[in-house]
């Protein structure tokens, strides 16, 4: 895709920095603001001007995946105009970015007026880490973490957006950080949005297998790129009595692991 800043943003930023609209995502907004601030820091350090439209709520995925297309459209539609004047839209989530990139065109397929704006939105929306590496051409970050991490590939980012090497590439540049791969990094953690509360027993089996794999990795910290999966895995680790630190990848890359305790409050902080 071509980088073509709108005239408005070129006027306000003569260095023609790309103007990025941050889509915070509803889970980051409510559960983990640190991830949002980490994303802002990473984007600004990469040379972007970051804007956060305050009317944003959610991409509509819970309704979309529940078969309630009417509710999904109602929640999703405002985003199309909200991000009209941004060069890019970036979300710290492969799942929400995937919704806007892959599923908005399907959700609004029968709305002729929205066809073009939806296509434009889908074309400029990115998952955070792949945006940093693939668009901003970042090779590394100025962060440090003494210890080992293991990385869970969240399903939507991995399979819908092909986010696989990008986070590993940036994580390898973190000073002192060692990656210990899971046996099955690409196997679903059992979150699946409403799935985890509709079929808790099956979800429990899946996340139990996942936490076993995580603990066997011997890593000090679990890292992933989606809050849904992180809350699920962190919650299971806590329930099992593990105090393993759990972080969103943005927090590690932005060097903000000292800014707040890990998800579910590792007391090591």
């Amino acid at each position: 895709m071509s980088f073509a800043p709108s005239s408005a943003s070129s006027a306000s930023s003569p260095s023609s920095k790309p103007r990025v609209g941050l889509f915070v995502t509803c889970l980051v907004d409510m559960f983990r603001p640190t991830v949002g601030f980490s994303a802002v820091k990473l984007l600004e350090e990469a040379g972007c001007v970051v804007d956060v439209p305050m009317e944003q709520v959610c991409c509509g995925q819970p309704a979309f995946n529940s078969g309630d297309l009417e509710s999904a459209r109602k929640v999703a539609r405002p985003l199309i105009a909200m991000f009209e004047n941004h060069d890019y839209v970036v979300a710290p989530s492969g799942s929400c970015a995937g919704m806007m990139i892959k599923h908005f065109p399907e959700l609004f397929a029968n709305d002729l007026e929205l066809a073009e704006p939806v296509r434009a939105l889908a074309g400029k929306t990115w998952e955070l880490v792949s945006f940093l590496t693939d668009v901003m051409k970042l090779d590394g970050v100025a962060a440090a973490f003494e210890g080992s991490i293991t990385y869970h590939d969240s399903c939507s980012g991995l399979r819908e957006l092909k986010v696989k090497e990008q986070p590993r590439k940036l994580l390898r540049s973190v000073k002192g950080l060692e990656i210990r791969e899971l046996q099955e990094p690409e196997t679903c953690c059992g979150f699946g949005g409403t799935f985890c509360v509709k079929y808790p027993e099956i979800s429990g089996k899946m996340v139990g297998d996942k936490t076993t794999d995580i603990k066997n990795s011997g890593a000090d910290m679990l890292v992933a790129g989606d809050m849904g999966c992180l809350l699920n895995m962190a919650g299971k680790l806590r329930r099992e009595g593990s105090d393993m630190e759990v972080r969103h990848v943005a927090e590690v890359l932005a060097d903000m692991t000292m800014a707040a305790p890990g998800i579910a409050g590792s007391e090591k902080g």
Partner: protein
Amino acid sequence: MEQSTSPKFKQNAHHALHDASLQRALGRLKTGFKDKRLAAIADMPEFEQLRDTARDIKNHTLANLDHYLTAFEANVIANGGHVHWCADAEEARQTVLKICQDKKAKSVLKGKSMISEEIGLNAFLEKQDLKVVETDLGEYIIQLRNEPPSHIIAPAIHVHKEQVADSFRQTHKGRDINRPLDEPRDLLDEAREVMREHFFAADVGITGANFLIAETGTSVIVTNEGNGDLTQTLSKVHIAIASLEKVVPTLEDASSILRVLARSATGQEMSSYTTFSTGPKRDGDLDGPEDYHVILLDNGRSNMLGTEFQEMLRCIRCAACMNHCPVYGAVGGHAYGWVYPGPMGSVLTPSLIGVDEAGHLPNASTFCGKCEEVCPMRIPLPKMMRHWREREFEKHLGPQSMRFGIRLWAWFASRPALYGKATGLAARILKSIGGRKQKIGKLPLASGWTDIRDLPAPQGKTFKQLWAEQQAAKKA
């Protein structure tokens, strides 16, 4: 049609998760098929292109299904065979019965066939006093155990070898009760001996079909045991039962799809036996059946044409989707409650027995997308499961609480100011419930979450609250 227990999916899954023997068996799935598939496709650089070719062949065929089925029929007849068009399971069963009665048959041999499971053929024929013997080892084992298959290519994957030995000791009379049956080899040898006798005594041999080839009027089966060949060549009558989407235009097309089939299924380049049957025995042929029949079963499939579920008819029953599905891997095939388990079953079953009956199946998915990633026919399984959820929602079939919850959430989520206040309040309350350890072990109305795992507490303020404060401070 086989009675379904799909409406009881949750209870089925509960039992499966607490069945230690089943869980041990499912543990084997974690490697096995998956590793072999990976190795097989690593040896084939053109695998991805072949998937496109296979998809395109089936798409073309489905767009011209009437043409190719008619051509297939004409060629079967030209070869001296018979074609029976059956609209539903009952018509198919009656047709098979009539063929058996016309031949005054007493015994029926079976090659492995999921269509036979779909129409409940064994139980029906046994009620008519016909002796039915499954010849695929896995199918034979579950026949002895009086169970349905739990997997479409490995029907007895849930059974351990000790359980097979028990079944053999109980069934195979007149043998030393203390004979060694500890090793798979022992079991195979005994099954082969027992099976030989059946092969030579059979009147009618029934197989499924992996492909029907229009240009030649041929039915094709793939097996690893050779049992299918013997079933269809030694019996006086061969009946191939196939659903109508099994047709492909040419031998070349069947060959192309065969190249992705075994690799995706078992990780073999080809199955050990690929058998082409074209009509009955001709003058001068050394062997072959006297009569050759093809049952073409619809059973709801033509209703899928022209709908968002048409692509499901590309399925070649390789089972890659279930081999890789974490939900199938957790609960096994029986939990799905009908003939077809796993992701392909979650799309196909509602099409065949109704979404009101099978509504759980397309819901019991995280949409992780692994099934679509490995499907050799590039069937968008998660998308079609979502379409079933849409149909369910339209028909008010799901739980009312879920429906109410989604609508309530959407009402809030389309009112940003109110939503912001509500989430700000919730974040604060949850943080205080979380206490010093910042985790919540129990929460009213959220037992689906907290029965299994803690809820990590929010940090206390929402991002948007903090961002607004920060922006205000910058301006000040």
